[in-house]
Assembly symmetry: none
Homo-oligomer: 129 residues x 4
């Protein structure tokens, strides 16, 4: 089984965190359906060329968030989560990132229009580019 997860060696972000963010996104956006069996820890470690321990941490963190479910001897599955909870998870990270951006703008005394312009530019770059 293959997962669309990219690791950026250059990034300052910890390895485990990069993986976590992307795997969480796959789950909460419904690209990995409830009940899906994920690759084993060893497999994913090999795929991502990182240590078993790093993958273990990812699975463990997401399990403690209630998004994954592991059973010894069986494997790791996408957990059953209420739709409402899923939506909350899905938008939480976005809302926080947007809030950070606006806060950064206010800090350097951007006007509402000024920051909105920057935002529309970014939006066009990502969605039309």
């Amino acid at each position: 089984m293959w997962l669309p997860i990219q690791i950026n060696e250059q990034s300052a972000e910890p390895l485990y965190y990069q993986i976590e963010v992307q795997l969480r996104a796959l789950i909460v956006s419904g690209q990995l359906a409830e009940g899906t069996l994920l690759p084993s820890i060893r497999e994913l470690a090999q795929m991502l060329k990182c240590s078993i321990i790093t993958v273990r941490r990812v699975y463990q963190d997401l399990e403690s968030e209630g998004l994954l479910r592991t059973r010894q001897g069986t494997g790791t599955y996408v957990a059953r989560v209420e739709q409402r909870e899923l939506d909350r998870h899905r938008l939480a990270a976005v809302i926080e990132a947007v809030d950070n951006a606006v806060t950064a703008g206010k800090l350097v005394q951007c006007t509402k229009d000024e920051i909105n312009e920057i935002f529309q530019e970014a939006l066009n770059k990502h969605y039309n580019g």
Copy 2:
């Protein structure tokens, strides 16, 4: 001399980083004019209730960015920076934060409208709230 810098103990961001961001914003947005004498390292550390080491790091970082200038025995001043350079600095952090937010949105497959709505909400919260 007082500086409008707030430290958030709860935040996961390192102390030095929180201070750096805010002090940089004060400079590049013109709230601290060229030539202004900043508090001494010891004074600022006392004001912010943090370690001297932390403040030293902030001053050093901003000096290496060319925003501050330290004179032996006199103190630390806001450096002379070209207006063009200043503008670049001013918007750089905002642009990056905005880009992060849009990237986060794309990761969980938000539509352009969906993320725009979140953004307008944040904008209203911060500017009209």
Copy 3:
């Protein structure tokens, strides 16, 4: 032949252990009489939708406790056990679980009354609810 054994997929307890506890309870409480022929390993595995290995482990464990007896080619039977031995088995698990509960209460400095109240509530929930 049907056995009233429930598997809880959500529980952290290993599969084999859940089955063992319930099957043991059926025997020591007399709900499965001495000499009763149990389902074959394959049958029970099918009934419980679990692995044959898991059921084999259960039968082996209970046989080594002297509660089951396997005859080559015939099947697995409830063994002959002295009444005294049966009673000991029957209460052993309960006594241990109760002891754990009281220990947990002491750990967080519950008073005798406090923990007794919790216990009476649980008792009412299970027996009158």
Copy 4:
């Protein structure tokens, strides 16, 4: 700084779990007040004669439960938690253990009186013994 934590080498319970249970109990029962600085990871590892990693896991788990707060370079503190939340934490483990005990009793068809008797015995043993 000393912490009243006992490790049972013989127990089947994982090391990290034994430590977690006891440290959590110290916090939620108020024996470690809000804001208390805990021993450093290295210190506690030495005190308990276990690996640094084991202690790290304990601190990390309790932090993700919101009971601890760590800051790099500073140390690990008892977090600020609402009293209501604290009470919930405090009794949750007890309620669960008591429920398990009653369930175990029902499984072997104990009467209400029978299990109550076992419970009162345990209570007397622990509190008057």
